[in-house]
Structure formats: C-alpha cells, structure tokens
Symmetry: C2
Subunit: 159 residues, 2 copies
DNA sequence: TAACATTGTTAGCCGATATTAACAGTATTG
DNA sequence: CAATACTGTTAATATCGGCTAACAATGTTA
C-alpha cells in the first residue's frame, strides 16, 4: 500500500511530466533547473528510473516517460493539485506557500485520503449557490480575527 | 523558515515525548519498538539529539527531553494532532489511516498552514448548532455516493 | 573545419539513516 | 554472588541522494 517510489524519484517523474507538456523534448538541464539540483544528480536519478522502466533515456539523449512512468507522474501531480487547490480555495493560503506545502505533502498523503480531500473540496465549492457563506465567514475570520457583521447576526438568529 | 530537524529526528523526539507521558522514564527499547527501528539506530539518533541539546542521555541511562527538545516535540505533535483531527472529523477518514497519514504529513506541512487548518476545523465544528448540516451531507455523500434526501430537497428549495 | 560553448556523464566523495553481528553493561534471581 | 537474561553500545556495512571536479559528447559559429 506504500508508495513504490521515493519522494525524490516522484519529484523527478513529476518534473519530467510537467516539462514535457509545453516543449517537445525534455533534457537534463531543464530537470536540473526545475528541481534545483546539479546535473550529475539528475543523471544518476535517470539511471535509476530507466532501470525501473519508468523513463526512456539514451546517453546524451532526450528523456521520455514510459506509460508506467506517466502513470506515476500523473498520480503525484494529482495529489499535488488536490492539496494545492484545498489549501488555496478552502484554507485561503497564499499561492506560493500553498504550492510549497503541496510539494512536500504530495509525497506523504495516501491516495485514499487525497481522493477524499478532492471530493471534499468539490463538495464545498460546487454548491448551486457557489462558495458558501460559512466559508466566506471563515476566510474573513481567518484574515481579520473577527466575524463579518452579517455572520454574527445570522448566528444569533439561528440560536 | 524550514524545519530545523529532519523528519527522522522529529519522529524520535515525538516518540520520546509520547512515551514520557505515562511512564516515569524512557528507555532505548521503548523508542525502538514504537518507531519500528532497531536499537542501534536509536542509540545513534540519541547521540545526535544529545549533541543538539535536545535530550539528556547518559550511557545505559534513561532518556529525557530538554526544554528545547520538548518544544520541538510539542510542535511536531501539535501538527500531528491537527492533521489527524481534520482527517477524522472533517474528511471522515478512519482512525487508523488518519493516524498513518498524519504521521507522514506532520513533517511536510508548514506551521502556518497547520495553524490555519486548526482554525478551520475549530471554525467548522464549533458552531452553535454543532456539526453543520452540510458536513453531515458530505459524509453521507462520501460514504454512500449520493445525497441524503433532506439535502436534495433543501438544495432544490434554495435554487 | 577548427575553436568554442553548451550539455551530459563519470568518478569519487559525503552525510544521513538504517542494518547486523558482536560485545559490554545492568539487573534479576536461584 | 554467580549464572542468566535483558538492555544498550560499538563497529562495520549498506543504501540513498546529494555534491564537486574532471572529462566527453554534442552543437554552434567564425
């Protein structure tokens, strides 16, 4: 049930997948830049990933994900996006920190939990009325430390 | 802004702190059992933690947290509990998986995000009416894949 | 095509963290 | 108090994932 790849290898796969989107080919230097590691680290990671049949890579050549590699990369990226979305849209964390936290947490959260979290976010945000009032109140409270006037009166009324 | 201790060292400190609660003294074997590592691993971790002034430990003696060590352990444990609480009470994840996930995520989440998450859980659960209707609906939906009857009619009404 | 710039690899190293095997210290108890 | 059982440490080793320095391959351009 545990992850078959280490956080580090997951990062490499995710980076390759993201880089492969725009441009046609992926090269060592791009991966190195994206992950903030030196090129020899990339080379040795690629060796390992190739031996695990997650990428194709010939000496001095381009890097491509195999279908297995793509699957793993997609899984990681999905967890990343679910977490980031939750942090930004529900908790109201700023984009930058949300991405940072998601980058770390994506390797720690189980798939089951991630899917549940995804459902939760969808559930909260996809109501017919749009973002619910209580969430707006939370964000206001969270930012200003007090409740918006309407909320207080509403709460009083409901008591 | 980054964690000053590695995930591994955080785990040792947290374990020591938890073990110290019930019993009077903490010993190597207990830590070893709790974390599922062999005793020599504990010994070398303790050496490192002692050098960082996070624990007191004499050869063949008991283990105690310093005030610095206790502070770090408390921080980690707090993040753990915030995450576990969220996973269980909001997402409805079962206890066991929630604890497992929290154990991993506690090392990845930033303190800022953890505190925001804590506020969120408090906000949702501490309404005057108790657990809100929408959350009950989510849990029902999440478990059964459909919406409880009252929710649907309520949603229709509100459209 | 020769010189240069860029890119990628290799070799060797390091620190972190875990392991096993062997040993040393401590505690219990007959 | 001596034998035994338990607990903890040491030493040696492994794996992982990063690094630098040096070199090799590739690509560009004068």
């Amino acid at each position: 049930m545990d992850r078959e790849q280490s956080p580090s290898m997951e990062d490499y796969l995710e980076a390759i997948s993201v880089l492969a989107r725009g441009r046609k080919v992926v090269r060592v230097t791009q991966i190195s830049n994206m992950l903030g590691v030196k090129k020899p680290s990339v080379t040795s990671a690629l060796k390992k990933l190739r031996e695990a049949n997650l990428i194709e890579h010939e000496r001095y050549g381009y890097v491509e994900l195999t279908s297995d590699g793509q699957r793993v990369a997609d899984d990681v990226f999905r967890r990343h996006e679910i977490l980031r979305h939750f942090l930004v849209e529900i908790l109201g964390i700023d984009q930058e920190r949300a991405s940072e936290d998601a980058c770390k947490m994506e390797h720690a959260i189980s798939s089951v939990t991630a899917e549940k979290l995804s459902k939760f976010v969808d559930f909260v945000l996809s109501r017919p009325q749009g973002e619910p009032e209580w969430l707006k109140s939370f964000k206001h409270y969270s930012e200003h430390g007090n409740f918006p006037a309407e909320c207080v009166t509403k709460c009083e009324r409901e008591k």
